[in-house]
Symmetry: C2
Subunit: 786 residues, 2 copies
């Protein structure tokens, strides 16, 4: 451990007074936000009506955050740093609101909250107040890229912001509560990937204030030597700042930051992975707040987590104690008569974009440069006729992405993220032009590892997601490729990102950022090596519940449509795009031009697969997803051959949100358009990639909803053949033909023999695979034209 | 580091030969499963038709797992251990299938797979074969409680199994891929909770085989000193077993296990947290497999992850290499002419329940003892008339759970899990009879911490979930209480648990286990301190997609119904029960008797809240959830007073799955029952706790679906008042009255004035809260009777 106590004081008396004044001012403002709706400067004695009727917010973490922020301001000024701030304990919103108001960035963002007494009153009142601002470090807070409401992602976001940002210092406060989460626990290892030269630096500040909501924290209660070993084992060189006496702590924190900055300056010169500096700040929870309330200790305990004095409006003792607490910061020394912070308070605040609330990286849209994309047509596979050629869709996408890397190499603003699945997902053409970033040891047998690779692979979906979010919110582009089933691991993270984008879109000074793009492959229908645990198409259902302004879902049925969709997603802004596509050899249905048209429409009739297109169809076969599309075409072929009089219309859906009413989603089809495709009253047999209920949930308001019969994945899975998966879930071609026969009025009577043959084919399949272990030759060799 | 090389050899030559024979036999059987469907003993030269047409499975991890299993067998025999095995790299299914077959537990479970040549052929063929067994350590594998398909949860499961199991040793192999995941990274800290005396022991075996699918692993590529610091920082004393020479490795592993067992015997004597022993096994990936294939290195690289020789059926070189590889294990020395393992192979295998495949803890239903539950009536709150009293539902549940702890104290078979939210969720009455288990340092100010507490609180939903799963699958009972929004963190884990239960239920020798019970509280409608990031009711949607045999969803509307539902869930088996309930003071609608009847029905008409019950209603007000129920009753009261001629029926749904058709879910109402409640054709205004589309998705087949108008959470949230949340999402009482007026034919004409007043009330609300920061007095003071 670094013995800070023995070091000479780094702060002269003036600087010490200034950093303390800044800290006191921020503490005053943080407490004021939780309690006051009037009398912000305490120019008159505090009365119950000055106090908010509902006391909401979290005091406990706020003084620690203010302490860190004040000292970072000093370090930025002293060392001319380009720094941003990630607040792990995001419920310490009052602290960040206080500091951005003090530095002026808040008033620049929200001019109505002026930097004077009126503005201070508004700052106080708006906090956690109806029509005001949330209690967390939400998008409304300038300088924030991390809301911190759901704990665990701060350090991943910080590393995401640092990639490809040489010269940027991302200071990341990690609460000791957050440190217990899984995502945070593995985020420490992000330093095995970050390049000290080409990337920025992350400075983790582990804030041990000892308590969560109601319990001590693990890291604050293990032996110091154990904690030290853990952090060194994670690859860091910890610097400890521990105590509660403000003056001692100011000196220690200033020295710690100076030391870390000096270390980083050296680290930045070499590609080798260093022991990165980090700071462990051990300070009391609710530091400087009420020490005892109603006879119980509060400062330094979990009781200061939210509102230390809870009965201020009704309990005169609490009211008096609140007033004493606020006055203990000596507001009269911090703000002038007009409520403006005095010179001593602002002396250590940097100017312009050096202020952390005004750092452009934290409003990434400002810095965003569009990607130069290759022509999709240049990567398109040849399709002389529908189904005449085969391709692996994601392999073609890999070539497209290779060119994206190449075309944007000088900007260094695109990355591919994956949990060790990029090659398995057949995107490995990208390794022609870039490597996998890796800072740990390399062995001769390794392939494609490099310290400055632009592909990030780690077996943690949480890290992939967190890195990508941080990367996007600081103005860059990316794609997360993932096994479909395991993307559920980040359900909760994407929730929070969607919520962030939803609010971000409504904030005038926040500029559009690149969309978060998922490529979900190795999907439910092709988990040949694995089985039931790897079969889950429900991420799309999860996404479909979220704000329609933000979410988009695509099911490209073949290679050329995948390319079109991918290009579209990479051009888009402020969305979460989910693209589900296969990696296995499969038929190409549309050539480049047709694919572009189909994707532009989002849904269209495939005339070439339909029959008797001059009249209303007897039945519509709908499909969304590559496996369902293949089965629908196989069924259509059977129908065409066996029931040539039947008018069959094939409709393919690539943009799933087209199915929703236009009032529900911007992509929703009007009812007339919907009826023009699916008819108002003919039977629709719809084969869908995922859980069938989603189609009903999207289409239940359509006039023909009662006519829709949806097949999909119904949670029947195991390790078996691709076709058997379809049979198990009643979405095989034979079943679809049976469904048509059963649903088209009068057809059972005339097509009974065909129906019987379809049932026999299902039985033949079952017997065959049990013996041979692979699908029937007629299934394996099936072609549309043959 | 413990210098094992310097130790004297612990294995004599016989024992060395035996453990090596056991290992070779298991390796032979693992490789055989991946490749062969005939000629299992290689009694004739290997021909293509002996080989499976689709080569599936994972070789890479299997020899390491076999190595550990063989040595654990020796240790069990030598030290008379009661041990079970958790396979983190669950894709090493062939290894566990091989070992359980060798020890006989597999044949006892599946008598058709005999312990002879015929059985061996079946063992080989069935693996990853249609109609056979999955590729992972699925429920079909005796001794397994952990499928290991989705990586990250092995160590949490192991600790869950060890709680309250003194004398049990849970050996847990953690792959170095899995070790990169967040949930695994934080699981190491579970040793801050486990009591060495009252709980069992966990022996983590970190298997560094160096590679994931296509990349090196982080922990295998950091400096040994860094790894050592990390593991010591996690609170373990690592013992290293490193190399590839079998003889040296056998001696090292035997010594390591002997050393760990000796340490554990000492540790078990004291409550103090020790440095727990663990083993680091560094061995080549695909150890003993083909070293070079097609000129590229395979053994010891990622290329051995799945199927090292991929073209065996068509490439004669591969075929010959496979034969050589299999023969390298000298099967003629391992199996007799009938295919039975010889005495040297079985010499170190323990007998009966000491075999890890036959340990009853891994088939927990065998050990399960029902909970003794208190009478719900004894905890019921008094309800002289509907809405006449208030209560905090979860606080009453806390008292009920307190008694569950007390009544089952001697069995030590119930635990409560929570991410630091048990007190916040108002269940703290449990601390009257038990504490929070805690093995780290304790300070004077702490409350309710104790080394043998039965409440587990850690700020990791992953750990809570993983511990509970491990606890349940080993035959105990539990409840996970969680903030509603953040339970999404375990979406993916519960997926896997549901899949496990789905298969487990179909296996005759697996006995029913206690259900996994969630109490979701601090829900979307009452996140007063937080805001948008804490508002997400979608977990229920996620669950509703899963196998209907397993999932149950309850929305008790008040305190007494919550008690009934909780008691029902704690008595149930093999389910995942999700219970959503509020913690804030709210009206009691039903007394104990009415609550029991209502919960038994799952849905019923609330006659007392309805009007003109002697005739068909003009409108049905449906509700599910506590906040929606309150709003529906408030709307019903307005309608009763303002439109006394209108026949209004109030229907409350406590068991959400009652809405599904009976063909879709065992709890589904028949269509006639549904129509009897909701009418076939009258307008239904349904107020639902979560995303409104779920109600449509459950009820779309009902005859009156077109008449259903659902209100719910539509992703409009922020930090605001409880009633404002309802207004923002259009589910407030005024809106519900407007909906009734708009939907009941002819009512707009006669009730236009009331409609206007409702709109005005909404406006009054909006203006009021912006000024006063709390809800209108008429909302706060509202009562049903008043």
């Amino acid at each position: 451990m670094t013995a800070l106590d023995a070091r000479p004081a780094v702060l002269g008396s003036t600087e010490l007074a200034q950093v303390d004044a800044l800290w006191r001012a921020a503490n005053y403002l943080a407490a004021g936000q939780i309690y006051l709706m009037a009398n912000p400067l305490l120019h008159e004695p505090l009365r119950p009506e000055h106090v908010k009727p509902r006391l909401l917010g979290h005091w406990g973490t706020s003084p620690g955050l203010n302490f860190v922020y004040a000292h970072l301001n000093r370090a930025i000024l002293t060392h001319d740093l380009n720094a941003m701030f990630v607040t792990g304990p995001g419920h310490g919103g009052p602290a960040l609101l206080a500091n951005t108001w003090l530095e002026g960035s808040y008033t620049e963002a929200w001019p109505e909250v002026t930097q004077d007494a009126d503005g201070m009153r508004e700052l106080f009142k708006q906090f956690s107040f109806p029509g005001g601002v949330p209690s967390h470090v939400a998008p409304q807070v300038p300088g924030s890229i991390h809301e911190g409401g759901e704990l665990g992602y701060s350090l991943a976001h910080a590393y995401g912001a640092a990639f490809d940002n040489p010269g940027l210092l991302v200071a990341c406060v990690i609460g000791d509560g957050e440190a217990e989460t899984g995502p945070l626990a593995t985020s420490w290892h992000a330093n095995k990937f970050l390049d000290p030269v080409r990337d920025g630096a992350v400075l983790p500040i582990l804030h041990l204030n000892g308590y969560k909501i109601a319990n001590p924290t693990v890291l604050s209660r293990i032996a110091p030597a154990e904690l030290d070993a853990l952090l060194r084992g994670y690859g860091y060189e910890p610097i400890y700042v521990e105590g509660s006496d403000p003056e001692t702590m100011h000196q220690a924190m200033a020295a710690a930051l100076d030391s870390a900055v000096a270390d980083l300056a050296v680290i930045r010169r070499h590609h080798d992975r260093p022991a990165w500096p980090m700071i462990v700040l051990r300070s009391p929870k609710g530091w400087t707040g009420p020490s005892v309330v109603d006879g119980l200790p509060v400062e330094g305990t979990w009781r200061s987590h939210q509102v230390p004095l809870a009965e201020v409006r009704h309990n005169p003792d609490h009211l008096r104690q609140l007033e004493q607490w606020l006055l203990s910061y000596r507001p009269e020394e911090l703000f002038d008569d007009h409520g403006r912070p005095v010179a001593d308070v602002t002396a250590l605040i940097p100017a312009g974009e050096r202020r952390m609330g005004a750092n452009p990286n934290a409003n990434g849209g400002i810095l965003l440069r569009p990607l130069t994309l290759p022509e999709t047509a240049a990567h398109a596979v040849g399709v002389p006729a529908p189904g005449a050629t085969l391709a692996e869709p994601t392999r073609a996408l890999g070539r497209f992405l290779r060119d994206v890397f190449a075309l944007n190499a000088d900007r260094a603003n695109f990355r591919l993220f994956g949990p060790d699945e990029t090659a398995s997902n057949r995107l490995d053409a990208v390794y022609d032009v870039t490597g996998k970033q890796w800072q740990a040891a390399v062995e001769p047998v390794d392939e494609h590892l490099s310290p400055d690779g632009r592909v990030l692979e780690v077996l943690s979906e949480h890290l992939c997601q967190g890195w990508l979010e941080g990367y996007l919110l600081t103005g860059r582009h990316g794609l997360f490729n993932c096994y479909e089933a395991f993307v559920h691991i980040v359900d909760s993270m994407v929730n929070q990102h969607i919520k962030w984008l939803r609010v971000h879109r409504q904030i005038p000074w926040r500029r559009p950022v690149a969309s978060l793009n998922y490529l979900l492959t190795s999907h439910v229908w092709r988990q040949d090596h694995n089985g039931f645990s790897h079969q889950d198409p429900g991420f799309v259902d999860h996404i479909a519940n979220k704000s329609s302004e933000v979410v988009r879902i695509y099911f490209p049925p073949d290679t050329n449509t995948l390319l079109e969709v991918a290009a579209h997603c990479l051009r888009s802004r402020d969305y979460v795009n989910v693209v589900v596509a296969g990696k296995n050899d499969s038929p190409n249905w549309l050539d480049a031009e047709q694919a572009a048209l189909h994707c532009a429409r989002g849904v269209s009739i495939w005339e070439w697969a339909s029959t008797h297109t001059d009249r209303e169809p007897d039945v519509v076969l709908g499909c969304a997803g590559d496996a369902p599309t293949l089965e629908v075409l196989a069924a259509a072929k059977i129908l065409r051959e066996e029931l040539p009089e039947l008018a069959v219309r094939v409709v393919n859906v690539v943009d799933l949100m087209r199915l929703q009413p236009e009032a529900e989603h911007p992509h929703g089809l009007g009812d007339r358009e919907f009826d023009a495709l699916f008819t108002p009253d003919r039977p629709v047999i719809f084969a869908y990639h995922g859980y069938p209920w989603l189609i009903h949930r999207l289409a239940y308001r359509r006039s023909n909803h009662a006519g829709m019969h949806v097949r999909g994945y119904t949670e029947h899975g195991t390790t078996t053949t691709p076709f058997d998966m379809l049979v198990l879930n009643h979405m095989d071609r034979f079943q679809l033909v049976i469904d048509v026969i059963d649903r088209v009025p009068g057809l059972v009577a005339t097509a009974g023999v065909l129906r019987q043959r379809m049932t026999e084919a299902q039985g033949r399949h079952r017997r065959w695979i049990r013996v041979h272990g692979e699908d029937l030759p007629e299934i394996r060799d099936w072609t549309w034209e043959g």
